[in-house]
């Protein structure tokens, strides 16, 4: 079968669908898109089912060659996309033909871009998902990030006769300081009030310890006075405070259980903003009511007509 050939994967490119659910009981991570907003727009533009598999490109410097005639869509960080060396817009669909070269240079702002294809990439699922979790060697093609010369299967389709674009009001603007709202929980009450105040009154900087498992931020150290805690299930977006006091936000590829105290969880829709933060970017945290975060998440998923 034909599809899209990887000329170069760049810094890192992985195949992701919505994620591997129902396997945490077996100790596995969910994987899935770091930026759900950009991911869902790609599938919406292409009229794909919302969990269709696509490529998550990190930082850029990636290149692909189409082996089919079809339509692709690219959303997320603007990485100076070109098709056959002609500039092509981000947050938009593009018709491609056999032999077309699709190239990403690098993002001036943001970190991750998503490239999907009409009908989705056809990847053999592992535990009902094609999401790549490199740490577990699961999903994608042979459990690995994309490599030079990989071919990802996709069908030829009649290219869309017109270009579809994401309306500008839905394209996130880059912020100098990103505010991430969080739902206080887990051991939050066991931290001293002074430490909880310090956490919300500090402007943190995204460190280089940033990957699909977690994001460490640097700034004022948060101290935990309580006793050690017994390892427990990690919810997406958990704000973990390790002994060095520098918070780590746990993301889609994080381990399923962990034993560091946690202040709560980042609101899931704000994780889409964090997914586009780069080392050096500034972060501020603000507490939010669980019910509000929940309503916003439902509204977000309803917009994309999710049913899972």
């Amino acid at each position: 079968m034909n599809g899209v050939k990887v000329i170069k994967p760049g810094v890192m490119a992985t195949l992701q669908d919505w994620g591997r659910y129902g396997q945490r009981e077996n100790g596995l991570s969910s994987g899935g898109p770091m930026d759900e907003h950009a991911f869902l727009w790609v599938n919406r533009l292409l009229e794909n089912p919302p969990n269709s598999c696509m490529i998550e490109i990190t930082i850029g410097l990636a290149a692909f060659e189409s082996q089919v005639n079809t339509t692709i869509a690219v959303c997320g960080a603007d990485m100076g996309l070109t098709i056959n060396n002609k500039p092509a817009a981000c947050w938009s669909t593009h018709a491609v033909k056999v032999g077309d070269k699709i190239q990403f240079s690098s993002a001036r702002q943001g970190l991750r871009s998503y490239m999907g294809i009409a009908g989705g990439f056809q990847v053999k699922p592992v535990f009902a998902s094609s999401a790549t979790v490199v740490r577990e060697h699961l999903g994608g093609l042979n459990g690995e990030a994309l490599q030079h010369n990989d071919v990802i299967n996709a069908e030829s389709t009649k290219p869309l006769s017109f270009q579809r674009r994401v309306p500008f009001q839905f394209i996130p603007a880059h912020q100098k300081t990103t505010t991430l709202r969080f739902i206080p929980g887990y051991q939050s009450d066991l931290f001293e009030a002074s430490q909880r105040d310090l956490f919300v009154n500090t402007i943190y900087t995204v460190s280089k310890r940033l990957d699909r498992m977690g994001c460490q931020v640097q700034g004022e150290k948060i101290h935990f006075q309580g006793a050690g805690i017994i390892s427990e299930g990690i919810a997406l977006g958990s704000i973990q405070i390790p002994p060095d006091g520098q918070p780590i936000i746990l993301l889609k590829d994080s381990g399923s259980i962990g034993g560091y105290p946690k202040l709560g969880c980042i609101a899931r829709i704000d994780l889409n903003k964090l997914a586009q933060c780069r080392p050096g970017d500034q972060i501020k945290f603000r507490a939010i009511d669980q019910a509000i975060a929940c309503d916003e998440l439902i509204e977000f998923y309803d917009f994309f007509k999710l049913s899972f």
Binding site: Y21, E25, R135, G233, A235, S238, Q290, L297, Y301, D302
Partner: protein, 230 residues
């Protein structure tokens, strides 16, 4: 300390249930029983269950059910599951282990440290039946316990950069087998040829939380015949 169980919402779609606040050998079977009941709920209502030593993280589908309803349903399940009623025991899984200095790099040091012979150390580790308390860290990795008091030792002060696949190891009150090579600070007593993670199977590992595990000492010949590598 507040009373148990506690059902606390931690994000938009997850509750953590704390059943107790200390290591308890009754917990794995109890949590397994709670999971068993949640498994009978309508398909897709629950997206993930993450059991651990004393807690269960329940992740639900916000598009199908509200937080309030999930909380009610969880309290009902817990109310109906009394710890003393748990009679069923998890299945027994036997894991063959080649205990030797060449397969367990810390075997001799550990025996010396606790003042027993290597044979006595092997007996101390292989005679008890262990319980699976939690799965995690890496695919197929199970946290098992509780070790005989004599075997309770701190982790190595300097973790190894690479623990070989199949290594059978101990740390504090726990024992485990490393399915794949990884950095690690546990003390290595031997190696098992058993395949502990198979993505073609569901569940992919031979044990679940609440199951019982017994290590069976095998010879070098048996180890190699079963596909073990040195």
């Amino acid at each position: 300390m507040s009373e148990f169980p506690q059902i606390n919402q931690v994000n938009e779609n997850s509750f953590i249930i704390y059943f107790t606040d200390d290591f308890d050998i009754q917990m794995p079977a109890y949590i397994a029983s709670v999971i068993h009941q949640i498994d009978t709920w309508p398909v897709n209502m629950i997206t993930d269950l993450t059991p651990s030593y004393t807690s269960l993280l329940v992740t639900f589908n916000v598009l199908l059910i509200s937080s309030d309803k999930i909380r009610q349903k969880l309290s009902k399940v817990i109310h109906n599951t009394a710890c003393k009623d748990i009679k069923s025991r998890g299945k027994l899984v036997e894991i063959p282990v080649y205990y030797s200095p060449e397969s367990g790099l810390d075997l001799i040091d550990t025996a010396e440290l606790i003042g027993v012979t290597v044979d006595e150390l092997v007996a101390l580790h292989s005679e008890p039946e262990y319980l699976v308390f939690a799965l995690g860290f890496m695919p197929g990795f199970a946290f098992m316990g509780i070790l005989n008091n004599k075997l309770i030792l701190p982790r190595l002060s300097t973790p190894r950069t690479r623990v070989p696949a199949g290594s059978v190891a101990i740390a504090e009150k726990q024992t485990a087998v490393y399915p794949e090579p990884t950095p690690g600070g546990w003390r290595l007593l031997g190696k098992s040829p058993a395949k502990l993670f198979d993505q073609a199977k569901n569940p992919p590992q031979p044990y679940r939380i609440g199951d019982r595990v017994k290590f069976r000492p095998i010879s070098k010949q048996q180890y190699l015949r079963l596909g073990g590598q040195l």
